[in-house]
């Protein structure tokens, strides 16, 4: 069973993530396309947010910018009160390493690499020694119910198990926020519920969770729903009648 993760630390009373007039534009054949066009919003510590929108709405570009993977054309991203615009690539790397955990649609695990070693990758870049890397990776894998899959390579794991390894990897540095980009996009409905149950537990334990999705069923698990269209936020509201997945998932994994 999943243990309760340590409560993430905040360093300021600022919003965890704040964007100000965020713009990302591309030049396509002489025409400027605004993928994200002036988005200002803030996400507080402990929120569970679904970012919705169709393909091309700008939701993924927005997420890449708040995850410090992509650089805005203009505007500001503040993480934990700190502006990121003037940060060097090394400072951004450290920021991603310490404060942000990523979960991807295609899991992005290293092939031919055991679950332990996959989960331990972020700790390498945090400069943690080998023994501690191993201990912390094993602990997170146990949290994800993968105590008996420690040495399996991704090829020997089901899709749901792979995504749980990826979540363990995202959490192993004890980040403030989990950024999940279509985390259930490659999974069947039942496994998707399992993953959503994990997110719910993590959020209940205090971790901020941001899920990018185009599926209403997935978005309905969140507490807050932000919808994008043509690079702008067209809706930002509290979700009433949330779907609660944990009971179902607990029964499954018990």
């Amino acid at each position: 069973m999943m243990a309760t993760p340590a409560t993430p630390r905040t360093t300021t009373d600022q919003p965890l993530i704040e964007t100000r007039e965020l713009v990302k534009s591309y030049n396509l054949g002489g025409e400027t396309i605004h993928a994200v066009n002036g988005v200002s919003l803030s996400i507080e510590q402990g929120e569970y947010v679904a970012i919705m929108g169709t393909s091309g709405s700008g939701k993924s570009t927005f997420m890449n910018m708040i995850g410090c993977l992509d650089v805005p054309t203009s505007g500001q991203v503040l993480i934990d009160g700190t502006p990121t615009a003037s940060m060097s690539s090394d400072e951004l790397a450290s920021l991603r390493n310490e404060k942000i955990g990523f979960v991807f649609q295609q899991f992005n695990l290293l092939a031919r690499t055991s679950s332990i070693d996959n989960v331990a990758v972020p700790l390498i870049y945090a400069g943690i020694d080998k023994t501690e890397r191993r201990e912390r990776a094993i602990a997170k894998l146990h949290d994800m119910g993968l105590g008996d899959r420690l040495l399996n390579t991704p090829a020997k794991l089901s899709g749901g198990q792979q995504q749980r390894v990826a979540i363990a990897r995202a959490l192993v540095t004890e980040p403030l926020v989990l950024l999940a980009d279509e985390p259930t996009g490659a999974l069947d409905t039942r496994t998707s519920e399992e993953i959503m149950a994990i997110f719910e537990k993590l959020n209940a334990a205090g971790i901020t969770v941001i899920v990018v999705t185009h599926e209403d069923e997935i978005a309905d698990h969140a507490k807050r729903r932000i919808e994008f269209r043509d690079g702008k936020v067209i809706e930002d509201r509290i979700v009433k009648n949330r779907t609660v997945a944990s009971a179902y998932a607990d029964a499954e994994s018990a």
């Binding site: 993977l69 690539s89 991603r96 031919r112 990758v121």
Partner: protein, 412 residues
């Protein structure tokens, strides 16, 4: 320091995983470096071997001496002599006046027919004085060498080289036996130490007799004067400067022949030091040419490394993006690929070095030519292959580290 080591050990582990994943490709890439390091190492070793064997043969000849030849020194100046000059009296003057000279020895050489009742040998024979044996490092080790008394009396005595003795007497001890030299009866009084060959010339195929005997009976009429020599040696004491010695000998002889400024000398003085420097220069050039040619194969191997590292970076763009998302700095990515290239090169280089060592050992044993691969050459080769890895792996590694995280992650 500990962190530094840890991060490199992680990179080495990643490198080995990557190399195992594409085993065939890795081996072929290594083969390029292997051949290059093999060729360069062997070229260096062959050059060193040539140097060593030239030194050995010069040393075996007598390491600290000047050689004086009665030939006009052709470099510039007016020529007031129709022929070269060098006499035994000149040698006595050199012994008297040049500091550091231990002994001098004259030389008259002629190819003579040595005949015994059962055999004959045509031998390049030397007429000289007792000091010759020690100056040229070739004394008698059985019987005795020629003496001053032999020289005074122009005795018909002969000291044989090992090869000549074997030709004439086989396994028998020749001391005390008689030999006819161009029809003249001689007595064998000693046997020279075995010396081996130098560049295909057998140093043991020789015979030594008093200079007076050689002059009177064999070469007298071919010489321009009654006291003239074909060649002379002046041995210096250990540590004496041959540069100064050469100047001193030249001045003594100039004085004796009244050579004025602006006139050329009727003799030439060379030293073993000059021979060594010249041969070192020549073997140095030989080595440089060999290494240059061999380096081309190493260059090709290096280009192979660069090629495969570019492929590796392209194939693993998504992995690079992922590692960046998880917190890898540019330097982490760069080092990861540098280490991978260096591991390829050092593995290939180590095998190439091992093969070069085997080839060198085989050449030394079977081709009678020293090809020494010492610790210095070995360490040099390994460092060199690591440098090749870093040089040719550098561009792909830097390119990998400059990728934008999001673009790398989006790559399919």
């Amino acid at each position: 320091m500990e962190k530094w080591l840890a991060s490199w050990s992680v990179n080495i582990a990643i490198a080995f995983t990557a190399l195992r994943t594409n085993l065939m490709r890795s081996i072929l890439t290594m083969l390029g470096v292997l051949i290059g390091v093999f060729a360069v190492t062997l070229a260096v070793a062959v050059g060193n071997g040539a140097q060593v064997s030239v030194m050995q043969s010069i040393n075996s000849f007598g390491s600290n001496m000047a050689i004086i030849v009665p030939e006009p020194d052709n470099e510039g100046g007016r020529r007031s002599f129709d022929r070269g000059r060098l006499t035994q009296r000149d040698l006595r003057a050199i012994e008297r006046e040049v500091p550091g000279v231990i002994a001098t020895a004259p030389q008259l050489r002629s190819t003579l027919d040595l005949v015994t009742p059962g055999a004959n040998a045509t031998t390049s024979s030397v007429g000289t004085t007792p000091g010759y044996g020690s100056i040229t490092n070739h004394p008698a080790d059985r019987g005795r060498y020629i003496t001053e008394a032999d020289v005074r009396s122009a005795a018909r005595v002969l000291v044989l080289g090992r090869t000549t003795s074997e030709t004439l007497f086989g396994e028998f001890d020749p001391v005390g036996e008689s030999v006819r030299v161009d029809g003249v009866p001689f007595q064998v009084i000693g046997l020279l130490e075995e010396k081996g060959s130098t560049f295909g010339t057998d140093n043991d195929d020789t015979a030594v007799m008093p200079i007076s005997t050689m002059r009177q009976r064999f070469v007298g009429d071919t010489l321009p004067g009654p006291d003239d020599l074909q060649l002379a040696f002046a041995g210096f004491e250990e540590g004496a400067s041959l540069v100064q010695g050469k100047i001193d000998i030249t001045n003594v002889l100039k004085d004796r022949y009244r050579v004025r400024d602006g006139e050329i000398n009727p003799f030439r003085v060379r030293t073993t030091q000059e021979f060594m420097e010249e041969s070192q220069f020549i073997t140095g050039i030989l080595q440089a040419v060999l290494v240059a040619i061999a380096s081309i194969s190493l260059l090709v191997g290096g280009i192979g490394i660069m090629n495969i590292m570019l492929v590796s970076v392209t194939e693993r763009t998504r992995e690079i993006g992922l590692r960046m998302a998880l917190g890898a700095k540019r330097s982490d990515i760069r080092n990861q690929f540098l280490v991978e290239a260096a591991v390829l090169c050092v593995l290939g280089g180590a095998v190439g070095l091992a093969l070069a060592w085997l080839a060198g050992t085989a050449l030394t044993a079977y081709a009678d030519f020293p090809v020494p691969i010492g610790l210095g050459v070995a360490i040099g080769s390994l460092i060199f292959s690591a440098v090749i890895g870093l040089a040719f792996g550098g561009y792909p590694a830097v390119r990998a580290s400059r990728l934008s995280p999001i673009e790398a992650l989006r790559t399919e």
